[in-house]
């Protein structure tokens, strides 16, 4: 079996939620919708305080290309527009909507079938629906679907790996909405002009492979189907964009370049399902599947949650926290961010709420590097984290760039394997930010 170099075999802890069907939560009384939920430019509000909005109404948009609009996830009244904390760690202008009353309006409607739609129309629908990368990176999808002139995309990869431990949101989605995923893949492939579609699923999710290959949509395509479902090795970070391209196509994305460079576009299964919903029913991205799990939870669930619901509201619908629950992480245990307050809202990139107990949340003291080289062996990006972290500590920013900190995918393998418990990936995250600031100052 082909695979990328480095990586880790982790304990997955998915058993407790992978058989639990997705449960839709009732609509909350109040939502907080950050105007920036994507990588790229923030949106400007399209509504004022006191306006009545309907479910699915566009409330924020930007004229910039690398942006995705945001929509009201409940019907109600706009009570506040101000800077509020966002799960990513900084304050973002957000629209607060209280349920009740509510204007009437209809979401965009698309009367055409997939065969009639042109690539441009698909891109427009994807952008209007506010669809971003649902795996957590939140890169606007329509940007990925717009290859620069002269670049030929031969393959669309649909990422169903879900390699982070604990998370089962995509797994459940593949089981329950296989048709939508296949339909969405076809739409995405049409938009980029790709001839082949590869759906990569880790081999610990055999049932998902089965569901995708026996789905009605796939059956309709018959023998000449462009879709191939590939089982890939269960290894972290198999779901990394560049790692998955290496595994499936044996192509390596050059340093500092996008997957476009090697003729591939990667999208998450969640993104494909959202695209299908937007084309079939005109539904913008206002709900997402979220796994609520971890050793600090009494009961674990897969929820379908409206964007903007507070974490507290989400936790209220489960059976509650264990007594020794001590830290909540948004995202998986490897790449997730610690949550500082339960008032924070669910955003488009929230894949999981992970509650750790005191034992799991323990932070070890950092010791000196013993030069074992394990971080180098396991780095899926082929970097040398040991040297890199030394240069970050010395603030030798030229050397940090020379050792390609920009190619770090922040997967956390190095910190995980380090026997001295050095905060390697944390240093790189800080260094990347520092370099960004420095570049901005220079310009």
């Amino acid at each position: 079996m082909n695979t990328f170099s480095g990586g880790l075999h982790l304990k997955y802890n998915k058993e407790s939620t992978e058989f639990k069907p997705i449960k839709e939560l009732p609509s909350p009384q109040r939502v907080v919708i950050p105007l920036q939920q994507n990588l790229g430019c923030p949106n400007d509000p399209l509504v004022k305080v006191g306006d009545e909005v309907y479910e699915g109404q566009k409330i924020g948009d930007s004229p910039k290309f690398v942006s995705a609009p945001v929509h009201a996830s409940i019907s109600g009244k706009v009570t506040k527009i101000e800077k509020l904390p966002n799960p990513c760690g900084f304050d973002v202008a957000s629209v607060v909507i209280e349920a009740g009353g509510g204007a009437k309006g209809s979401v965009m409607h698309n009367a055409k079938t997939l065969e009639e739609l042109t690539p441009d129309e698909i891109r427009r629908i994807v952008r209007e629906a506010g669809i971003v990368g649902m795996g957590g990176a939140t890169f606007p999808t329509h940007v990925k679907l717009t290859p620069p002139a002269g670049k030929l995309i031969d393959t669309l990869i649909i990422n169903g790996c879900e390699c982070e431990p604990y998370i089962t949101a995509d797994h459940r989605l593949m089981l329950e909405r296989a048709d939508d995923i296949i339909f969405g893949s076809l739409a995405l492939a049409k938009a980029v002009g790709a001839q082949n579609i590869l759906i990569g699923v880790e081999d610990n999710k055999k049932d998902a492979v089965g569901a995708l290959s026996t789905s009605d949509e796939k059956h309709h395509l018959g023998k000449n189907s462009p879709i191939k479902i590939v089982e890939v090795e269960t290894k972290y970070p198999q779901g990394g964009e560049k790692q998955l391209i290496k595994t499936l196509l044996d192509r390596e994305v050059p340093s500092g370049k996008l997957p476009l460079e090697v003729g591939a576009v990667v999208n998450n299964v969640g993104t494909a399902a959202a695209v299908a919903a937007a084309i079939k029913h005109g539904t913008p991205l206002i709900k997402r599947v979220l796994t609520v799990t971890g050793p600090g939870m009494k009961e674990r669930h897969n929820f379908l949650v409206r964007i903007g619901t507070s974490f507290e509201e989400v936790l209220k619908h489960s059976e509650g926290l264990m007594e020794d629950a001590s830290r909540i992480v948004m995202g998986g245990p490897m790449m997730g961010l610690a949550v500082s307050s339960l008032d924070l809202p669910v955003v488009k990139g929230t894949t999981c709420l992970l509650v750790f107990n005191r034992k799991e949340a323990r932070i070890y003291e950092e010791k000196d590097c013993i030069r074992c080289g394990r971080c180098i062996k396991h780095c899926p990006a082929g970097l040398m984290p040991n040297f890199l972290s030394d240069y970050v500590k010395l603030k030798d920013w030229e050397k940090v760039e020379e050792y390609h900190v920009a190619d770090c995918i922040e997967c956390g393998c190095c910190s995980y394997v380090c026997p001295s418990r050095i905060f390697l990936v944390q240093y790189f995250k800080a260094a990347k930010r520092e370099l960004q600031v420095r570049k901005a100052v220079c310009q």
């Binding site: 904390p85 760690g89 900084f90 304050d91 961010l337 610690a338 500082s340 307050s341 932070i363 905060f423 944390q426 240093y427 995250k429 800080a430 930010r433 520092e434």
Partner: protein, 261 residues
Amino acid sequence: MVILISILVLGLIGFIFAALLGLAAGYFKIEEDPRLATILAILPGSNCGACGSAGCHDFAEKLIKGEVLVSGCLAGGEEVAHKLAQVMGTEGLVIHKRLATIHCGANEKVRTKRSNYSGIGTCAAANLIDDGGLNCKYGCLGYGDCFCACPFDAIRMVDGLPVIDPEKCTACGKCVVACPRAIISLRPYANPVWVACNSRDPGPVVRKICPVGCIACKICEKLVPEVFKVTNNLAVMDYTKTGINCDPAIEKCPTKCILKL
């Protein structure tokens, strides 16, 4: 006989090499300005880079070429500038000494937190995640990035808040760059008063989270209008105006966030 021959041969080889070295020394001789050694002796020699040159030697060379001014050595300050002026023959030199200033007065006893930060212990890293767990988005994080950056040992950390030693501080500006929250600025040494707050949050918010923050009450602006001005919910001082009596404002400031040396 053998011994004699070897002595002669080796002696001859030695002589030839000596002659070659002598010639080479003459051929490759670099004319060095006699002032360079004097200037290097005057300069502090800390190679801090605050002048913008790559260390003291580079600065000295540029000074001789006339590319930089005698007052260019920030670390050396007034004294060095006057000595350099004598060497270079510059006259009528007036130098305003400056001083790093910490625009925050909240030490770790009064800082309020909303979450526990347990990551890398630098301000730059803490500032990336949820404002380092502090309620105040503008105040000192207390991990001492400025303390580590100071090449002159002029910053002490007292209860998690940097304190500047006015005698040791050379206004090189390294701490100004190191602080991720831009709390530190340089003010004229002649001005002993400064505003120890950097918060642009509105008054009621500051009241809730910090006992020593500026609440933008504008009392200082009313009492000493020449110097103080409240903009963006923060009292801003015109540090260039020295010699104005600011004591009434210092006394009446309800949160005591205007400090005096």
